[in-house]
């Protein structure tokens, strides 16, 4: 699941359409749109709204059965910025500074994207250039630090991304909705490519037919003997050693090994102990060689 957060509806409009998201009316307080792959939450402006909306969304999706630990969180929205930065550019944020607390947050960029890297400062209120002459080479927004801080409570750093489109050079008084729509439109393909570049889940190598068969054989034993989580781990450990020491497949081993099936826990436990002992003997034959 990729969870996208925006502060206001105009930042979300084109994404909702691009990703074909449907409003989920069951979700309380905030506007939430989703399909099977994406969720988009609109929090309202500011750090408090962001933190509440994001935490609530994650809990809500967990309740629906989505696996949050392998999800990706993306903050997308408009930002102001100093004059060195280009209006209309889509930026990937590598450092976020919270202006109020001076805390810094650093996303981990593991996968290549085509966005321009930049740093960003999150303020508690709109920033006027005249009042902040000290700012150089930074974007400015009102949500990113809270987004990152909240997201990091649930996910690893490399699963959290902040993407901003530069709307003005710190002249929020001139903000025009139409301009935002137009700028996003110009970058929508780049945004789409970025979302495409995100890994859906942690990198897993594709299983070979043998590995797949092994996985299925192990799962069958776990199911047949009603093994607990810790017993299943013991079995996985033993089979890993069996592979290393014998270069043989568990699938072949289990084909000729018969264990007693029962509805009684104690009988299954006994069968499991016997299976472990037999595997250990096979491993032991190779330990000294």
């Amino acid at each position: 699941m990729i969870i996208i957060h925006t502060a206001i509806h105009p930042e979300a409009k084109q994404l909702i359409s691009l990703l074909k998201l449907k409003r989920d009316l069951e979700f309380p307080v905030f506007e939430l749109y989703r399909n099977d792959e994406f969720t988009l939450i609109i929090s309202g402006i500011g750090k408090v709204n962001t933190a509440i909306a994001l935490a609530t969304t994650i809990q809500y999706l967990k309740g629906l059965g989505y696996l949050i630990s392998t999800s990706t969180l993306v903050n997308f929205g408009l930002a102001g910025g100093t004059e060195e930065l280009e209006i209309g550019e889509l930026y990937y944020i590598q450092k976020i500074t919270d202006h109020a607390t001076d805390s810094n947050y650093y996303p981990d960029l593991i996968y290549i994207n085509d966005l321009t890297p930049a740093v960003l400062t999150t303020f508690d209120r709109p920033v006027l250039r005249a009042k902040h002459p000290e700012l150089t080479n930074t974007l400015v927004d009102m949500e990113a630090s809270a987004f990152f801080q909240t997201a990091n409570k649930f996910l690893a750093i490399h699963q959290i991304h902040v993407i901003k489109i530069l709307i003005d050079h710190l002249t929020p008084q001139d903000f025009k909705l139409e301009l935002l729509t137009e700028l996003i439109e110009q970058k929508i393909d780049l945004l789409k490519t970025f979302l495409n570049s995100l890994p859906k889940a942690p990198i897993l190598k594709e299983l070979s037919p043998n590995e797949l068969a092994e996985e299925q054989s192990i799962e069958k034993v776990v199911f047949d003997l009603q093994l607990s989580k810790s017993q299943a781990q013991q079995l996985y450990d033993l089979i890993a050693q069996y592979h290393t020491m014998t270069n043989l497949l568990f699938t072949d081993f289990i084909r000729t090994y018969h264990y007693k099936l029962s509805e009684h826990k104690s009988v299954n436990a006994n069968s499991f102990e016997k299976l472990k002992a037999k595997l250990s003997i096979e491993i032991g034959k190779h330990l000294g060689s």
């Binding site: 450092k95 960029l109 490399h158 995100l198 996985y236 290393t244 190779h286």
Partner: protein, 340 residues
């Protein structure tokens, strides 16, 4: 919209981002290092810990595309030697940490249990390390220092020049004994330097299968042997470490082959000594690594835990060490040159 397949996601380059402590910015070494990465993003940070000690980092994911952090070490330029590492009968055994983490990704490496981050930290205030060592040397009269402890210093010598400086210090201070342990083939970066007996170039060698399957990203066994050969040709007396010994299929034959290869390819007289140790690890590191490597056979072995240390049973440990020791003796290595 169809999402991209995970397998299609492309990794960023190693060190595509360099985080630099504000205090480290003006150091010559910082300038030297960043001049070698002209395409990297430079990000200013307050302290290396801001990046290195962040919450919820994923070591395995970060290993896919590690970043570089240049920082200042404020204290602890010397640590008392750990019981995990042999002291080679030296009375004053210390180690230091001029860098944290390593370019390689060995499955058995304790660093992945010790650190939250897979990013490489280099401390650019090198003079503080040299001075602290010289002060301690003056106080104790002699000192044995392991400089490549929580890292592989020779592997990054082209970036830092640390080994070259230590060699120079050893030449000036005969009572200072320094060991630099490596799996790299980066001998070329120091090949022009005059050998000195009190700087020990030490290579960790493992059988071909272990080297290929478990010591991920390390140079091949053949390349390592070639680098050692070059070092010997330049007059260096090297140390060879078989550490950690691992129980693998056919491990005995594999070590037999490895030792035979060493005998053929290297000048055994120019091997200062051999150091042998079997796999052992702090229990908390072990648990953390096992969790991050759920399908790794190395962490599936029924080790024993004694006093918070995970290791082979005493019997297995003895068998591993004695077997390799005997193989060395059978190949003409005097037992006085073997440290267990």
């Amino acid at each position: 919209m169809k999402l991209g397949n995970t397998l299609e996601a492309k990794l960023t380059r190693t060190f595509d981002t360099i985080y630099i402590e504000k205090e480290a910015q003006d150091y010559e070494l910082t300038k030297k290092i960043i001049s070698q990465f002209t395409k990297s993003q430079l990000i200013s940070i307050n302290s290396y810990q801001e990046i290195f000690n962040r919450n919820r980092q994923d070591f395995r994911q970060q290993k896919l595309s590690p970043k570089l952090i240049l920082g200042i070490k404020k204290d602890s330029y010397l640590y008392a030697g750990s019981s995990f590492t042999p002291s080679f009968n030296q009375p004053y055994f210390f180690y230091n940490a001029m860098a944290l983490n390593c370019l390689y990704d060995c499955s058995y490496c304790y660093l992945q249990g010790m650190f939250n981050s897979a990013n490489l930290v280099i401390f650019v205030n090198e003079q503080d390390f040299y001075q602290a060592t010289l002060d301690k040397l003056a106080e104790l009269g002699s000192l044995y220092l392991s400089i490549s402890y929580d890292t592989d210093l020779l592997a990054i010598e082209h970036l830092t020049g640390f080994c070259a400086k230590w060699i120079e210090l050893c030449q000036q201070n005969p009572n200072l004994l320094v060991e630099s342990r490596t799996k790299s083939v980066n001998f070329n970066s120091i090949k022009e330097l005059e050998p000195t007996d009190n700087f020990i170039l030490s290579w960790t060698l493992s059988p071909k299968t272990v080297s290929e399957k478990i010591e991920v990203n390390t140079p091949s066994l053949i390349s390592k042997i070639k680098a050692i050969k070059n070092a010997q040709a330049r007059g260096w007396k090297v140390r060879i470490c078989f550490d950690p010994l691992l129980v693998q299929k056919n491990w005995m034959n594999e070590y037999q082959d490895l030792i035979a290869k060493i005998k053929v390819e290297l000048d055994v007289d120019l091997i200062r000594d051999f150091s042998i140790g079997s796999f052992r690890m702090n229990d908390s590191f072990y648990k953390k690594i096992k969790k991050s490597r759920p399908n790794d056979a190395l962490f599936a072995y029924p080790y024993e835990k004694i006093n918070g240390i995970i290791s082979y049973s005493a019997e297995q440990d003895k068998k591993l060490k004695n077997t390799v020791c005997q193989l060395l003796i059978d190949n003409g290595v005097p037992s006085t040159k073997i440290y267990l």
